[in-house]
Amino acid sequence: MENWSLVSLCVLLGLTARWAVSLNSYSGAGKPPMFGDYEAQRHWQEVTYNLPVHEWYFNTTDNNLNYWGLDYPPLTAYHSLLCAHVAKLINPDWVELHASRGYESYGHKLFMRATVLVADLLIYIPAVVLYSFYLSEGSNKKKVCTVLCILLYPGLILIDYGHFQYNSISLGLALWGVVGLGLGWDVLGSLVFVLSLNYKQMELYHSLPFFCYLLGKCFKQGLAGRGLFLLVKIAVTVLVTFALCWLPFLSNPGQVLQVVHRLFPVGRGLFEDKVANTWCSLNVLIKIKTILSTDTQLYLSLTTTLLAILPSSIKLLMKPTLWQFKLALVNSSLAFFLFSFQVHEKSILLPALPVCLLLNDLPLPAIWFLQASTFSMLPLFLKDGLLVPYVVTSLAFLFFSVYLLSALEHCSEDKLRLGPYRRLLICMPRMDLGSVTKWKFYFSITAMAGLSFMSVALAPPAQLPDLFPLLVSVFSYHHFLGLLLYFNIIQIAEPPQSVRKNQKKSN
């Protein structure tokens, strides 16, 4: 069959899975007084529609910031405004000031779900198709398989269509940025990435690799000549895009400061709930949250994050290739997730996006990471009543990615690029690291299944009510840490350009 029809089938499958998940419950359904993220998004529509721009981020009599106050950058607010206008056309009750608080109905849920689908269809899905067809290697069949696997990644589907958020917009825009840079349209790529950054501040996790890649490219072209011109072009684009996004707030510095304050709520502490990152896992052993002051916590996390992203950023700066860029995106966002301040469990989607881009090159580690990332959000899914879609989409993704990408056949030491490990483990007895990895993968998947089952079926002991969420996050944390090391080692130890090219040809 022709490619276009195969791709259309994949997209249709992806859309079907998405809509089928959206038939399930959402966060905070029928749980007054605070509800959940679904109500937050609806509330933002209400606020942006009824209040003037300069009140959006301020606590006023009409805008109680303690009730889901707007804490995302302006593009999110504009998007909410756009949705609110559509909502007003369909049913004015949905966005009426104050009166619509906690509004829930069959029709409204349908409307909200549809807004997610439309955004996904317009932004994320085309970017995935474009990326797979123009920037990944292999036969057309393999590219089609990649499209399907990326589109079936359960984490994103469950959070956007189950829990309810618009990650496909911010991640989709970031992916457009990657596609832009990959195709050599640097200016366009950085413009789109700035949009993504202005949709969700968490995209900062991806910003350093973008910066280093572009700067490295300018260096390579020579800062005295074409490089400088490119640098100026990109800088102007970024500044102008930023200015345009923030235009309504620029009239008054107080406005800008307030928005920034809303975006980075430093006072909320090192972490909340159970997150599979360093601080939460460390907290099991040492109660850092109580021992250290907020400021110390802030500096501690800042330093460790910087240290963790430094090697990959420097390497990327020196060698700005697409392969390095993809790895740096993983390394940077994963380091941010593991070490930075105020991380949510859903932020694992940020490293998951660039890992999706590695599905074609390093199938087994990528699948492993993506499974672990979905698993790490299990407590959230259970809270939202998404058990069935979680189980089904996870199993489906596991099966299809392993089958279509032949992940278990491509795990020799060479294919997994385990050479550096071999050198590090020189004193260890001679064994096949490829099959060791495979066995670890089997074990880990079994353990995830077991822990999922226990979380659902068993009651935790009375003195340890949070036992299972904690086990889930510590278990996932070890995966993330191990894979952070792995991806860093691959990035740093990448052989010189010529060798890699030969390798490509032999494939």
Binding site: L15, Y106, A396, Y403
Partner: protein, 524 residues
């Protein structure tokens, strides 16, 4: 990758295809389900709570048991698993009981019993004729057939959203067809006898089975010109066949005959009190007949040839009421539909009697019987179209002409199932699944037969379905007539689809009779 290296003996793609669709079915667990869900829950409760003698008498719920005894036993078996999920669903008085575990159990029971269907599809795929020559896996007829059957749009929405157990029933039918294709006729007959005792709607295709088995199994040889050679009649085979069929029926109906309940059971199985057409007209001849009647009456009133007061009232609100009274054309009785049905399948049945063309000829005859009864039957449900579509898939991957008819029939037939899912949340699902299946069937069959399969007129008709869909589900709800004339979308859908189904039926007949012609020609 796996897809790039096709080997006939490598069947790893088959579990992938089957698992994929099973995952999709599991995702639909929380989708809308119709009253059929309650029907089956009630049957679980009845068979679990009462002795066999009460099964066909129980009427606490309006959804009384109206499938043959083997299906009741099937529900009885399921109820033993059900009690481990939620005992409350097995209480007859708990009408419309839908706890989450009940939903989970009932949905899973459909998904798990679909294993029969999956196995049957595999057997069908192994019996498909192969063209020689290197092709990539996606272009093989057996792959296309597996995808067309496993991912069939109609079966997905009827079983896994609307809620019914057609998957395993069609599994038994396809398995029986596959056994005939493989020459294992006794097994095929046994399976069909079991199927008849699970759901009696399959009686409609029994003529094809009966004639085929008599002609091609009990008569072991033909004359050289292909005509009947009576001397080859094998009484042993007839006795074997007969004893299989009779023992299955005895097993199923025997206890009820012994208890003297046969009339009661039969009255449940054949409720002729229902109207000619279902609330939503299945796209068949009667939909066209009703439409002509309505058009004539409107015309008559306009031209002052008729008196409005004298017209039956129902005719002006028709479409939503069960009883449709004709105002101009003569009313149709059950016996007339029976005669029409028999007349419509007669030529096909006679054709395989005179010139049996092996199991494939039988299969074609079976499809004609299914489609003929759909076209002319009494109180036909739109879902019955699947009885023609699914077996026809096997023929469609083997011949170019059949592929063309198949595309017409499936696309129209599947679209005519759209009104089954009228809830807004399921609209995207049904559209997406329909697009998925239709796009796949068109591109794969086009690739298989290297070229376009439809003429411009047919293509235009099928594109018209898009217009009908937009008109009925997007534009019409916004118009003011929605409240005064709510039945118009259903009416438009069923009349438009009945054109396509009728056209496919005629073309199918033409192909069958033309084969007769060429056979005769060859002999001359």
């Amino acid at each position: 990758t796996v897809m790039a290296t096709p080997r006939a003996d490598d069947w790893s793609w088959f579990p992938a295809l089957a698992l994929g669709v099973s995952f999709l079915k599991c995702l639909l667990i929380n989708a809308y389900h119709s009253t059929d869900f309650e029907v089956h829950r009630n049957w679980l409760a009845i068979t679990h709570s009462f002795p066999v003698s009460k099964w066909y008498h129980e009427n606490t719920s309006e959804w009384t048991l109206d499938y043959p005894p083997l299906f009741a036993w099937f529900e009885y078996g399921l109820s033993h698993v059900a009690q481990h999920f939620d005992k409350e669903m097995l209480v007859v008085q708990n009408l419309v009981y839908t706890s989450p575990t009940t939903v989970l159990f009932q949905r899973l029971s459909v998904i798990v019993t679909d294993m029969v269907f999956i196995y049957a599809v595999r057997e069908c795929c192994r019996s498909v004729r192969e063209e020689k020559g290197f092709k990539d896996l996606l272009g093989h007829p057996f792959f296309i057939l597996a995808a067309l059957l496993l991912w069939n749009f109609g079966l997905l929405i009827v079983d896994h959203i609307h809620f019914q157990y057609n998957g395993f029933l069609f599994g038994i039918l396809l398995l029986s067809v596959a056994r005939h294709l493989q020459g294992r006729h006794l097994e095929g007959a046994l399976l069909f006898a079991v199927l008849l005792n699970l759901k009696h709607i399959y009686l409609y295709i029994a003529p094809a089975y009966g004639i085929f088995l008599l002609r091609s199994y009990c008569l072991t040889e033909d004359n050289t010109d292909g005509s009947v050679r009576w001397s080859s009649f094998s009484p042993v085979r007839l006795v074997a066949l007969g004893s299989i069929v009779i023992s299955v029926c005895a097993l199923s109906f025997g206890p009820f005959i012994a208890m003297g309940q046969l009339p009661q059971v039969l009255s449940r199985l054949f409720p002729f009190k229902r109207g000619l057409c279902h609330a939503y007209w299945a796209p068949n001849v009667w939909a066209l007949y009703n439409m002509v009647d309505k058009a004539l009456s409107v015309l008559g009133v306009r031209l002052k040839l008729l008196d409005v007061a004298k017209l039956p009232k129902a005719s002006m609100t028709g479409g939503l009421v069960q009883e449709f009274q004709h105002s101009i054309l003569p009313s149709v009785s059950p016996s007339i539909t029976l005669i029409c049905t028999l007349l419509s399948i007669m030529p096909a049945v006679l054709s395989i009697w005179r010139r049996p063309r092996g199991a494939r000829g039988f299969l074609r005859c079976l499809v004609v019987c299914a489609l003929g009864s759909f076209m002319f039957g009494w109180h036909v449900h739109e879902k019955a179209i699947l009885m023609a579509i699914l077996p026809f898939s096997i023929l469609a991957v083997e011949s170019r002409e059949d592929a063309g008819i198949f595309l017409m029939l499936t696309t129209t037939g599947h679209y005519s199932l759209f009104p089954l899912l009228f809830t807004a949340a399921e609209l995207p699902i049904k559209v997406l699944l329909m697009l998925l299946f239709t796009l796949y069937s068109f591109t794969s069959l086009k690739k298989l037969f290297r070229g376009s399969l439809l003429n411009p007129l047919e293509t235009t008709y099928l594109l018209g379905l898009v217009a009908v869909e937009i008109l009925c589900e997007v534009v019409y709800p916004l118009l003011p007539w929605q409240h005064t004339l709510p039945f118009v979308p259903l009416l438009v859908t069923s009349v438009y689809c009945s054109l396509g189904v009728s056209y496919s039926f005629i073309r199918l007949y033409v192909s069958l009779l033309r084969q007769d012609g060429t056979d005769k020609h060859k002999q001359l």
